[in-house]
């Protein structure tokens, strides 16, 4: 069965290592914060200027001066630091953030990503996404493998305007975990109960399947 949004987030959280600094995009990536394994510590970076983002505030803790990059009220965790936007993006551009996790409309075999603009639809802006994909050491894309019409989002070449070129190394979808290298998607894991045939059908770009592909562990 295809994974739910929360199950994708659970699988994402397994990528983190103890001591990682992580920036999570809006949507499924944000959910990954709920599933960080108990035995490790990660620190969340929010690009509006907070390193060490804590949980949402209780009603008593709400403070208009304390928000995250999604403009939601948040708290600062113990050990947090707060800084200006240039400092925040120095961390990002300088390669100090270990992981960034974000959603996408399309990813291609070169590791290019399109995530911010659909021509003909209203363009709201890229926010910090272009900086994040240009700067983070490891970038994980989370998305559904295909759109609601069944069209693959893993392409030979992106068709939409790009967010960044040659930057994505890992994709976690509702069907599979894939690595992007040597101009191909390399299948690493499949969602529990998902047939490899379905993954092949829904991957438009070159797909490399090497040996037995294990099922993901989701819990």
């Amino acid at each position: 069965m295809a994974l739910s949004r929360d199950q994708i987030a659970m699988r994402v959280a397994q990528e983190f290592e103890d001591g990682n600094y992580v920036n999570l995009g809006i949507g499924i990536p944000t959910l990954a914060a709920n599933y960080v394994p108990k035995h490790i510590e990660v620190m969340l970076q929010s690009e509006n200027g907070l390193l060490g983002m804590g949980p949402y505030p209780t009603e008593d803790q709400v403070d208009a001066d304390m928000i995250n990059a999604g403009k939601e009220t948040v708290t600062a965790a113990a050990g947090a630091s707060i800084f200006d936007s240039a400092e925040s993006f120095a961390m990002i551009r300088g390669g100090h953030v270990d992981f960034t996790v974000l959603g996408a409309f399309e990813v291609d075999v070169s590791g290019s990503i399109a995530s911010w603009m659909i021509p003909g639809k209203l363009i709201k802006g890229m926010g910090g996404a272009m900086d994040l994909v240009a700067g983070a050491k490891n970038i994980i894309v989370t998305m559904t493998h295909a759109d609601k019409h069944g069209n693959s989002k893993l392409l030979p070449a992106c068709t939409l305007p790009l967010t960044g070129v040659n930057c994505i190394t890992r994709i976690i979808t509702d069907l599979a975990v894939l690595e992007v290298k040597d101009k191909a998607f390399h299948l690493r894991e499949r969602a529990p109960g998902v047939d490899i045939k379905e993954i092949i059908e829904k991957t438009a770009g070159k797909l490399v399947i090497d040996g037995d592909i294990p099922e993901m562990t989701i819990n």
Partner: protein
């Protein structure tokens, strides 16, 4: 005003000199850390043809969004503008121009503008619509684009505390773009929650040194929350 005393007592004095077709750089991220009273004064003045540089353009009826109501903004330079129906309408009508700029590039453009650096190379945006028409160059085998600095005729800033000399401190994530914006205005105006006497702020804790600041005004703030999210709590 005498010597280094930057305090003004009216919003009219705070924004004195603002004229049509000028560029305003505004601090703030969403509705967090925005100079509410200075924005209201720009609306009251009715200044037109403005280029406004700010990460966002407020929401309908609040923040920079109020400057759309009388079509005072000609061009907006922002990273994300999706929160505003009037913005969308004016953009589609061709009444408003928008230059979408990656958030980190926007911050760095302000920082560079204030620091006398005319342009800088960044990997952000290479190979995307943002990089189109811009000079590019390789360093150590990686591609970068040349981005130009931004300065403004005015910078409007929201700080937590300032002393009469214009030394400023910000509170929590209301800091955001304010420190860079403060450096990049020909005239920098800071609206603060509290003006304190000179010597009250610990020198090493000051975020924006007074040298960047021309005017300080005591404000009063609604501090509207854009997305209130709470946890159940223990």
């Amino acid at each position: 005003m005498a010597g280094f005393d930057k305090v003004v007592t009216s919003y009219a004095d705070a924004m004195h000199g603002l004229e049509d077709n000028m560029t305003i750089i505004a601090g703030g991220f969403g509705l967090c850390g925005i100079p509410e009273g200075l924005i209201a004064e720009v609306k009251r003045m009715g200044t037109k043809g403005l280029t406004v540089v700010s990460n966002n353009c407020g929401v309908d009826g609040f923040g920079l969004g109020v400057l759309l109501e009388d079509k005072q903004i000609k061009k907006m330079v922002s990273s994300y503008v999706g929160e505003n129906a009037l913005f969308e309408k004016q953009l589609l009508n061709g009444e408003l121009e928008v230059e979408l700029t990656p958030q980190g590039t926007l911050a760095e453009k302000m920082r560079a503008g204030g620091a006398g650096i005319p342009a800088f190379y960044t990997a952000t945006g290479f190979g995307t619509p943002v990089g189109e028409g811009k000079e590019s160059r390789q360093f150590n085998g990686r591609d970068y684009i040349l981005e130009e600095a931004i300065t403004g005729d005015f910078a409007i800033i929201k700080a937590w505390k300032a002393d009469r000399y214009g030394n400023c401190m910000y509170r929590h994530t209301a800091m955001n773009f304010n420190p860079m914006a403060a450096t990049a205005g020909k005239i920098t105006v800071v609206e603060v929650e509290e003006i304190v006497e000179v010597g009250e702020l610990e020198p090493s804790q000051i975020h924006t040194p007074g040298i960047y600041v021309d005017r300080v005004i005591q404000g009063s703030f609604e501090k509207r929350i854009e997305r209130l999210v709470t946890s159940k709590g223990a």
